[in-house]
C-alpha cells in the first residue's frame, strides 16, 4: 500500500506546482464563460485602480511590470530539492502581501497569460477560472488573514506564514471545486468529484503550501529589513481604500 502510494506520488510530483492551473480545453464552454464573467468585474476594477495610479505616477508602470515579472519568475522557477523533488512555488502569497489583492487581480492575470504564452501552462479559455482561484481567491484570503492577524496582534512571522500557507491552500481548494463542478463524478456527483480532486492535489499541495509559507516569511523579513523605501513602496502600490 505504501509502495503504491509512493509510485503514485513519484508520478504526480513533477506536475505539482502547475497542477493548480486548469489546462486549455479542460473546461466545458459553459464553465469557461461562467468563470470569465465572474472574474471580469474584479479585473475591470483592478485595471481602473491601476490606471488611476499610473496617471498620477507614470514611473510606477515599471514597478508594476516588475512585480508581475517577479511573481512569474517565482512561479516558473524549478527549485530542486526544496520539497524533495522539483517544485514551483506560486508566489501568490508574497504578491498579495506586497501589493495588495486589488493590484494582484490584474498582475495575476498578466502572470497567467505569460504562463500560457511562454510555458504553455494553463489556457486562454480557462483563464477566467484560473484567475479566479489564483489571482483572486488566494490573494484575498492571504491578505485577509494577514490583516486579521495584525488586528489580533500576532507575531509577524506567524501571521505571514499563516497568510501565505492558507492562501496557497485556498487556491488549490477553489481549483478542485471548479474541476468538480465541471466534471462531476458519475456516482457521487459534485461532492464526490471534489473529494477526488482535492485529495489528489492535497498529496502534493500541502507540503508545498508549508514550504511556501516558510519562504514567504523569510523573504518578507529580509525585505522589511533591507528595502530602503519599504513603506513608500507599500503605500505606492496598495490600492486606495474603498
Amino acid at each position: 500500500m505504501r509502495k503504491k502510494l509512493f509510485v503514485l506520488l513519484a508520478f504526480l510530483l513533477p506536475f505539482q506546482g502547475f497542477s493548480m492551473h486548469i489546462m486549455e480545453g479542460y473546461l466545458p464552454a459553459g464553465w469557461s464563460v461562467f468563470w470569465t464573467v465572474v472574474y471580469l468585474p474584479f479585473f475591470v476594477w483592478g485595471v481602473k485602480v491601476i490606471q488611476k495610479i499610473v496617471i498620477k505616477h507614470p514611473e510606477l508602470k515599471m514597478l508594476l511590470a516588475l512585480a508581475a515579472a517577479f511573481a512569474f519568475v517565482l512561479s516558473a522557477l524549478k527549485l530542486p530539492s526544496v520539497t524533495g523533488s522539483s517544485s514551483h512555488p506560486t508566489g501568490v502569497g508574497l504578491g498579495a502581501l506586497l501589493f495588495g489583492p486589488i493590484v494582484m487581480s490584474v498582475l495575476g492575470v498578466l502572470v497567467l497569460i505569460f504562463q500560457v504564452l511562454l510555458l504553455a501552462h494553463g489556457g486562454i479559455t480557462t483563464l477566467g477560472a484560473n484567475a479566479f482561484s489564483m489571482a483572486l481567491a488566494g490573494p484575498v484570503v492571504t491578505f485577509g488573514i494577514y490583516k486579521l492577524c495584525a488586528k489580533l496582534k500576532c507575531n509577524r512571522s506567524v501571521s505571514i506564514f499563516l497568510a501565505a500557507c492558507l492562501g496557497d491552500l485556498t487556491t488549490y481548494t477553489v481549483t478542485a471545486l471548479q474541476l468538480a463542478l465541471a466534471h462531476p463524478d458519475t456516482h457521487t456527483g459534485v461532492a464526490g468529484a471534489f473529494v477526488k480532486f482535492a485529495s489528489i492535489f492535497s498529496l502534493t499541495q500541502i507540503p508545498i503550501a508549508v514550504v511556501e509559507g516558510l519562504i514567504t516569511v523569510l523573504v518578507m523579513n529580509i525585505l522589511i529589513k533591507n528595502v530602503p523605501d519599504w513603506e513608500g513602496i507599500k503605500l505606492n502600490l496598495q490600492a486606495p481604500k474603498l
Partner: protein, 263 residues
Amino acid sequence: MFISEQYILRKPIFGLYSMEKFILFMVLLNCALLSGNLYMHLFLISLISIGFLTHGIDLIKLLRLIALPSGFIVLGSISIAFSLHADPENSLFCFDSMGLCIGLETAGLHKALDLFFKAMAAVMALNYLILSCSLSELNDIGRKLKIPLILRELFVLTYRYISLLFTFTGQVHIAQRNRLGYARRKQSILSVGMLFSSVFIKSLLFSNRSLEALQSRGYHGEFYFRQQKEALRLKQVLSMLVFGILLLFLDNYSNLFDLISHI
C-alpha cells in the same frame, strides 16, 4: 527557457499576418472545444503536428512538445476516470478501502479519454499561436482586439523584465549551488529565501535605473508599438472560416449519423 525559443518554427505557416494567425488559432481552438468527437480531436492534433513538422520542428522536438502538457492532462484525466462508490460488478478495476470502492468504469474511462484528446487538441491549437507569433505581434493583436493601452504596456514591460529576472535568477541560483546552497533541505529553504529577496531588491533598483534611462529618451508616459500595416486579406480569412465551419458541420453531421444509426 521559453517555449517559443525551444521550439522554433523556421518557416512561417501560410505567410499569415498577425491577426490572421489569431483567426486561424480561434478556428482551430473552437473546432476542438465545440466538438465532442474523438476523431475530430485526433484530426486536429495530427493536422497541427504535420504543420509543425513541415515548418521546421523535428519529430523528437514535436514529441517533447506534446509530452509537456500531456502530463498535466493525464493527471486530471485519471481523477475523472476513477470513481468513488463505483459498482464493483461493472468496474474494470476496483480498489476497496473502508467500504468504498474506488474503481474504474467503462463510462468514466471513455469520458476521461475524450477529455484527454479534446484538451490535447486545444493545447496544440494554443501551441500554434505561441510558436507562430512574436510578442510584438501578440501585442498588435491585443491592439486590434481593443485591449486597453495600460494592459498592453504592462504586458510588454513585464515580458522584458521576465527575461531579465529569469536570467538573473538562474545565475544567482548557479552561484548558490556553487557554494553548496542546496546541499541539504534546510539550507535549500534558506537559499530560496535569499534568492527571492535578492531578486526583489534587484528589481526595485533596476526599475529606478530603467526609469532614468527611459526619461533620458524623453518618456512621457507612453510607449511606441509598431503597428502591422497589413489589412486582413479577405481570401485568407474566408478560407479559414470556411474550413472551420466545414469541420464543425462534418462533426455535427457525423453525430447525426451516429444518432440515426442508434435509432
